[in-house]
Symmetry: C2
């Protein structure tokens, strides 16, 4: 942060003062949100609908680097990655809780930035911020988000219910977020290694950077499916990479799959950056993570319905369990998919 900006130490407010400052302007929008921040717990009423609950932990130095993650984007992303999990159950997110562990280096203005992103995501996706916890950390920033959403009875979509001959569909394009991260890491190293501190030049790659730093969840796809009264057989959101996540669906469903190289959607900017960095764009698409696209399977007879949904690509089909999970190259050879997704414990 620049020294010109105002810097108010958090200790000036204390814990309750900070919570009031950050959450004082929140008004609840959803009918299911009866009571939000300010009591021992939030109170919700889902009026007979089913509830989905998901949670994610973002840790500084593991999931993000404050050198290139603006705090506002980080707050936005922390919400979006959880909403993506809710959509992946075919549910509509309604509430989030946000807990922060912050070290002494953070000022009130920095917290305002972070919460600005949180609130913007809540607004864009129509969810209420109903609770959380704010505390100190010894070092670094940790963000824990829990998201809740609602789904009509009989409409929940799981991972383990893909069936033979289902069409495998994916929204958007793949590998862009991973390439965005590679670019950021390259520029960070250049900057750190140069004695003059050369400023990074990332122009021309704005799309890849936005996919990494400020991803969106595919609310629009869930809405399109609902408009067509189409309930997928199985669904997952792409956080670990296409290979890894598709293998989750297949192994949990006791199925195999065949996906085709020439069907994998990749953005031209991803291809260009991959070429520049001598990386195979298909490897990025298969194994890069954090796409936050939806991967789902539908019965074969829904082919025409799917074709009418914009930004969804059919990339292959579900096979029986004996076949394994295959990637069919442009030359027709079959390669066994491997789960090389991000593994934050290694």
């Amino acid at each position: 942060m620049s020294n010109k900006k105002k810097v108010t130490p958090l200790s000036d407010l204390g814990e309750f003062g900070l919570i009031n400052h950050l959450t004082g302007d929140i008004s609840l929008k959803n009918k299911s949100s009866l009571r939000g921040v300010g009591d021992d717990a939030a109170v919700l009423d889902y009026q007979g609908k089913k509830i989905v609950v998901t949670t994610d932990l973002l840790v500084e130095g593991i999931h993000f680097n404050l050198i290139y993650s603006p705090l506002k984007h980080l707050g936005y992303k922390a919400i979006v990655v959880n909403l993506s999990d809710v959509y992946a159950m075919n549910a509509i997110p309604k509430q989030v809780t946000v807990s922060l562990a912050i070290s002494g280096k953070f000022s009130l203005e920095a917290m305002d930035e972070l919460y600005g992103g949180v609130k913007l995501a809540c607004e864009n996706y129509g969810v209420d911020l109903v609770g959380g916890d704010t505390t100190s950390s010894v070092t670094g920033l940790t963000i824990s988000v829990t998201a809740l959403g609602e789904v009509d009875k009989g409409k929940t979509v799981y991972r383990n219910t893909a069936r033979v001959n289902d069409l495998i569909c994916v929204s958007g394009n793949l590998g862009a977020s991973y390439m965005g991260l590679q670019l950021l890491e390259r520029e960070r190293k250049l900057f750190e290694d140069s004695p003059q501190g050369i400023q990074p030049d990332l122009s021309g790659y704005e799309y890849l950077l936005s996919r990494q730093l400020k991803p969106e969840a595919r609310k629009d796809i869930i809405q399109s499916l609902q408009e067509k009264d189409l309930v997928p057989h199985s669904m997952i959101d792409l956080s670990d990479g296409l290979s890894s996540d598709l293998m989750h669906i297949c192994s949990q469903s006791g199925m195999g799959c065949r996906i085709f190289q020439d069907k994998i959607p990749i953005d031209p900017e991803t291809v260009r950056a991959a070429e520049e960095m001598n990386i195979d764009a298909f490897v990025c698409a298969l194994n890069g993570g954090e796409d936050y696209e939806l991967l789902f399977t539908v019965p074969l007879d829904k082919h025409d319905d799917i074709q009418k949904i914009s930004d969804v690509t059919m990339i292959g089909h579900v096979t029986d369990g004996d076949t394994g999970c295959k990637f069919v190259t442009d030359h027709g050879s079959e390669i066994e998919l491997q789960a090389q997704g991000w593994n934050s414990l290694e």
Copy 2:
């Protein structure tokens, strides 16, 4: 940890292997838990009841010190402090999610210890572990727990609904957890300062240590209230200390209060330790945190009902807002209560 114990690096399992190892033996007990760990989100059905949601973040070096917190107790406590918030809404906890950020120093066996405590608490309180996230941290251990519970319509109890002349009631006794922490800190310093590494002697203070290291939530009090069909006007759980939490009730309700020194329940062991350490036991009871007792207010005419509930003490009454929050000493003098509760941001 002793070198004799088996130490398996977490990288031997990877993230999914670890999750399977830790959660593979979980079976869901509650009717409202439709689907637990293993998909993008858990799926719940509260069948028309209201839902309460609360979340807490425990950070190594801030909320606990692994020098004297056994991992099993820590896992237990992380669950209990959240369940306490659910009970404080007059609700019954049904599900928890547990997210962990762990540094490389943790072995599989250490995780088993921590999860052993988590699972024991879930068993003791009848809640299902339905989800979470496991990731690396750069340093230290962070535990994020979210708890969900159910409450019948019309039975939710908030902080901001205390009324004039309500009796102020508190369960159990106060200040014991704080004294337990003082003892642990004293022994830690003695141990660190002694060249021979003198082993700590904490015998005779087992109760205080258990209150700090392995607290319980007052499920029994909520059950007793329900058996008597008694819905308090207001309720909070004591995490910041009696003064601070009572002032939350009063300020949010627009009320004042008067509590009496001779009514404050303090365990003899707390008194003995306080004397030994030259601390005023009443200061511990008023300002010490982490009691996880329930503080609630009921109409005056419920006096006899409350008297029949074991381990609940009436310590004063709610007054109108102009009176302020007063502590009446044994000598009859009135002292203004001050929120000197724990402030983890200072």
